[in-house]
């Protein structure tokens, strides 16, 4: 099991968190093509990389964003998820 150092909670076991997918901007539903939508929903590139991910801390009910390298499984940054975050992705 892993540990996460959270900006306000300190060192917490990763088992207290639920993975919520990587941070990704949802395509505009009005203008999206079928292919773009299918890519968004189904076709995820699994190549190793550093990505921003949603993680939910169950005991406090707070969503966090982790910066994590999927190859080394190292979490390099932990932030609160702020409103309107998807627009910045």
């Amino acid at each position: 099991m892993k540990f996460v150092t959270c900006p306000s909670l300190g060192r917490r076991a990763l088992s207290e968190f639920n993975y919520g997918g990587r941070l990704e901007r949802e395509p505009d539903q009005e203008t999206v093509s079928e292919k773009e939508w299918a890519d968004y929903v189904f076709y995820h590139n699994g190549a190793p990389k550093t990505q921003i991910e949603w993680w939910y801390h169950r005991p406090t009910g707070i969503w966090f964003l982790f910066e994590r390298n999927t190859l080394t499984d190292r979490i390099t940054k932990v932030d609160f998820a702020n409103k309107g975050i998807s627009n910045e992705a």
């Binding site: 949802e26 539903q29 969503w63 998820a81």
Partner: protein, 965 residues
């Protein structure tokens, strides 16, 4: 022949405590502290088991927890490891894997046809003719597998324990002990883990007769004992290494999840056997096994030994034998070891043959002679023991699992760790350090570095103490024209099997492993993989590094499933009405974390009780506890926007006080949740979710609020609010006695929400129709819920009110054709397939999954339909998930089914190919026993199709489906 030695300085046995047990019906005596193998061996019983495939006689090999041919069957426990499990007074063991008995095993006939059982035989031989396969399968199953499980076992669960430390040290041999002390001296908490009951490791069994070390030994041990910040976890092995230095430590008392800040791996090396003809005869064993046998259990490996060696360790073992008064007939040195060792041996009167080649071992039931050759001249020596000391392979599982890279050192002829992950250190023989004093130094620096690392301090450069000479033979394999050179003792893999596998193209290490099954037995290749790699490298002309090795995944060692399962521990939630349910002896079922009444036993049988509950709701009135529903409150400026975005139906045009069915899909358009939404005010909604998805739905909604940047607050009120559904034609009459609310059709119409006092308590009431009768869902503060429930039951008495459970509700809603998300839908079902196209409002600019649904709308291939059974045979009742078959093809499956008393038929829902969904179309359901029964497609709702009963005295003008509760 008695082989017990005089007392040894560090022996583990308690000579004051003799004990007796039986093996294969014969009495065996030993001492407390003995393991089954040591006690048997001390009495001269050298045949401890039969091999897996050819049922050859086998004795000791490693004496290091991996003697797979010496597994014993106890009445209540299969595969007791004879080389490590302390034997208890009166225990009864038999050999595993024998047909008949250990002494006379009919299975050994297999060996006579062995040449017709080439490598990969099972994969190739049984494919055709196909009709014979079941026969073969039965035979193979009978022959395969080890041990017998007692099927009348009693469940014993061991709790998983959590433990935290600063530095975890795996292995309490010389370098591990030194590392523990060095780390502890830095003031950090140290856990020192060893698989043996006592610390010491090779310092004890290899150096027991080294006078110069006895002071160091006792100082190390007493220091460890005296340091409060060193915790010794003995008789425990590290089954797996997981991210961020989590170790799964298995003990007899269950699993410890040990979280460390840094880890020192001092696991040492596994001694590897030499491969030559008849190297499996009882009496042929690793030199370290002989040393363990002597030093721990004071048992001689044999009376007259020959030593086959490629390193100084073999000489040391020879001298240990000599010291114990045993005859060493010769040391066969495969090369020429340090002249100092040769000199010492010769001074003790042991002949040394340098550059010797082993030819074969021979003997009828056990080893009787060894044939070898020097300078092309063959010689034979009679002996009853052959000690092999030809090399070592890393016990590297924790290092490999942590992501360590290993590379082959030609200096040592051994795989060594070359790049360690952060916070992971290695020391001792796994690092190639063979000098005992260097092992202490290597341990000290690793322990210090681990302590400094976890404190965030700078760690010093580590010195390389690895030996400058080979301690392993580069290719300890000696072929013989007649074969029987065993590489893998677990699976009876011979040299020719590997050669055959490679010749057939399985020349990659992973392929060779799977085709030949080398390393796939219970010891998982701990004594065979290295030789397998050497053979593959040699035969393919590659280097060891090019050849690579198989992946060492957890578990490192067979770990009881009960330890992995641990104790059952999960939260259990009770509704506010639980006390009532208990008082009437409700039969409970689990629904998510909740305990819900499945039914209330009022009649003789479960079925009759459920039928009575259904009848009460249809005939008069019933009351069900629906507190387990997820309950969310949504308020704020963007509440409407959020509701419109989350659900497929338009919520923004709901009138204040209205309720509406709420269906949620995910991005791919799959139904994930449903419930009822009500609008309290312009910016304030209340919505229910299904019982099982309340947490996940709430979590997802919170995420969406953030993503969409909405000004809205969502509260999960699931536990704060209790809810019940009062349903049946008499429900209004009961409710009217407990509230001042106008309950007339005009005052409180169908699908409308009202807030009023019920039984003196503030309540939200929704007129719902999930079960298809006039009904009111009543939501109140959970503190008041039981009181309201009791009042409804009291007033309802005059109408013979019955509480009803989940089973009755399932039947009632089935009669209405209402779906249950997760039962009638699966992980791919969209709203169109669920036959609810009316629930999707495409005119909204945006909602979750809209683009997917727009595409799916025109590509529908299956649909949920109602069906009724045409067969009246009561013994031909389909079950949920039974398949529907047309023309031999599967066209769908039953999702819900039940016998409807109201309709006098068996009805159900089925997800079927849209080609077969026309009303009155005939369907065929395949029962679990293979019979086909006839059914026909019928329209839903089955019961009261126009919904007159849920809206009594009202004109039917709204065809919108009833709300689900």
């Amino acid at each position: 022949m008695k082989l017990r030695l005089s007392p040894q300085p560090l022996e583990w046995i308690d000579r004051k405590n003799p004990l007796t047990f039986t093996f294969e019906g014969k009495e065996v005596t030993g001492f407390a502290g003995d393991v089954a193998s040591s006690a048997l061996w001390s009495e001269g019983s050298k045949v401890l088991g039969r091999s897996f495939k050819y049922h050859r006689r086998r004795g000791l090999l490693s004496f290091a927890n991996h003697d797979v041919n010496a597994l014993f069957q106890a009445p209540d426990m299969p595969n007791v490891r004879g080389d490590v499990t302390p034997v208890q007074e009166g225990q009864m063991f038999t050999a595993v894997n024998t047909f008949g008995s250990l002494a006379s095993d009919k299975g050994s006939l297999v060996e006579l046809i062995g040449k017709f059982l080439p490598v990969g035989f099972y994969y190739r031989a049984f494919y055709s003719p196909k009709f014979l396969f079941p026969k073969w399968e039965r035979l193979i199953r009978e022959m395969a597998g080890l041990g017998k499980v007692d099927t009348s076992w009693t469940e014993s669960r061991q709790p998983k324990r959590y433990r935290h430390c600063d530095v975890a040290i795996i292995g309490a041999g010389p370098s591990g002990m030194a590392a523990a002390i060095a780390a502890a001296e830095q003031g950090v908490d140290v856990c020192l883990i060893d698989e043996n009951p006592y610390i010491g490791g090779s310092l004890d069994y290899q150096y027991v007769n080294e006078e110069a070390l006895s002071e160091t030994r006792s100082s190390l041990k007493s220091t460890i004992e005296s340091m409060a910040n060193i915790q010794v976890i003995a008789s425990a092995y590290v089954a797996g290494y997981y991210g961020d230095h989590w170790l799964a430590v298995n003990t007899d008392q269950g699993l410890i999840k040990l979280s460390a800040q840094s880890v020192v791996v001092a696991t040492g090396v596994f001694e590897q056997p030499a491969v030559f003809r008849n190297n499996d005869l009882p009496g042929v064993m690793n030199a370290s096994a002989a040393q363990r046998l002597m030093s721990r259990y004071a048992v001689a490996p044999c009376k007259e030994a020959v030593i086959l060696t490629a390193n100084p360790e073999g000489y040391r073992a020879a001298l240990d034998m000599h010291k114990n008064g045993l005859v060493v007939k010769a040391i066969l040195d495969t090369g020429s070891t340090d002249s100092e060792w040769v000199e010492q041996a010769r001074q003790s009167g042991i002949p040394v043959f340098e550059h010797a080649t082993i030819v074969e071992a021979s003997g009828r039931k056990a080893l009787q002679a060894v044939t070898f050759s020097v300078d092309g001249v063959a010689k034979q020596l009679a002996c009853d023991g052959l000690l092999m000391s030809v090399g070592w392979a890393p016990a590297g599982a924790p290092l490999y699992q942590a992501g360590t890279k290993f590379a082959y050192s030609h200096t040592l002829e051994q795989l060594l760790p070359v790049s360690l992950p952060e916070g992971v250190y290695a020391c001792g023989r796994i690092n190639g350090v063979f000098d005992i004093l260097d092992q202490f130094k290597d341990g000290e620096q690793a322990g210090l570095a681990a302590a400094l690392y976890m404190q965030g301090k700078e760690t010093p450069e580590l010195n390389d103490y690895a030996a400058q000479m080979a301690h392993s033979h580069p290719y300890p394999i000696w072929q013989h024209p007649k074969g029987k050179e065993f590489v893998d003792f677990d699976e009876d893999i011979q040299f020719k099997d590997l050669k055959g596998a490679i010749a057939q193209g399985f020349d990659n290490i992973e392929l060779m492993k799977r085709f030949s099954t080398i390393g796939m037995g219970p010891s998982q290749g701990k004594h065979s993989n290295m030789n397998g790699i050497r053979i593959l490298a040699k035969l393919t002309g590659k280097t060891i590094d090019q050849t690579g090795s198989t992946t060492a995944r957890p578990m490192f060692h067979p770990t009881p499933v009960s330890h992995l399962a641990g104790m059952r521990f999960r939260p259990e939630r009770l509704t506010p009405m639980h006390a009532f349910h208990q008082s009437v002896n409700a039969c409970f079922m689990e629904a998510g974390n909740w305990l819900r009444p499945e039914y209330y036993p009022s009649e003789a049988s479960r079925e009759a009780s459920i039928a009575a509950e259904v009848a009460a709701v249809r005939g008069s009135v019933g009351l069900i506890d629906v507190s387990t529903l997820g309950k969310l409150e949504v308020f704020g400026k963007d509440a409407v926007e959020l509701m419109d975005r989350l659900y497929t139906m338009r919520m923004s045009n709901m009138a204040i006080g209205a309720s509406r069915y709420a269906l949620m899909v995910d991005d791919s358009g799959v139904v994930i949740d449903d419930g009822v939404a009500v609008r309290y005010s312009d910016e304030h909604f209340y919505v229910t979710t299904t019982t099982s998805s309340s947490d996940s739905a709430y979590r997802m909604i919170q995420k969406k609020v953030i993503e969409w940047g909405l000004q809205v607050t969502v509260l999960n009120r699931t536990g704060q609010i209790g809810a019940m559904n009062l349903a049946g034609p008499n429900s209004r009459k009961i409710l009217s006695q407990l509230t001042d609310l106008d309950l007339s059709n005009e005052g409180f119409p169908y699908l409308v929400m009202r807030r009023a006092k019920v039984a003196g308590v503030d309540a939200t009431l929704i007129r719902v129709g999930f079960v298809g009768e006039l009904g009111y869902e009543i939501h109140v503060d959970s503190m008041d819920a039981l009181q309201v429930w009791d009042e409804l039951m009291r007033v309802g008495e005059a109408f013979s009110i019955k509480p009803f459970g989940v089973e009755a509700q399932r039947m009632l809603r089935l009669e209405k054709g209402h779906i249950i998300v997760g039962q009638d839908t699966d992980g791919l079902t969209n709203p169109f397939e669920a036959n609810m196209p009316w629930s999707v409002h495409f005119k909204k600019p945006y909602f979750l999954g809209k683009p997917s649904l727009m595409k799916l709308k025109n590509e529908q291939q299956r649909i949920l339909v109602g069906f009724e059974l045409l067969s009246a045979d009561r013994n031909a009742m389909p079950l949920e998930s039974n398949l529907l078959i047309e023309d031999g093809e599967m066209i769908g499956r039953v999702t819900s089914i039940g016998r409807s008393a109201a309709l006098g038929k068996v009805i159900g829902l089925a997800m079927i190919s849209i080609d077969y969904s026309k009303p009155d179309g005939e369907l065929h359901i395949k029962l679990s026993d293979g019979r086909l029964v006839k059914a026909k497609v019928v329209k839903t709702p089955f019961y009261d199709p126009d919904g007159l009963l849920q809206k009594p005295d009202e004109e039917v003008h709204n065809k919108e489906q009833g709300a689900a509760a």
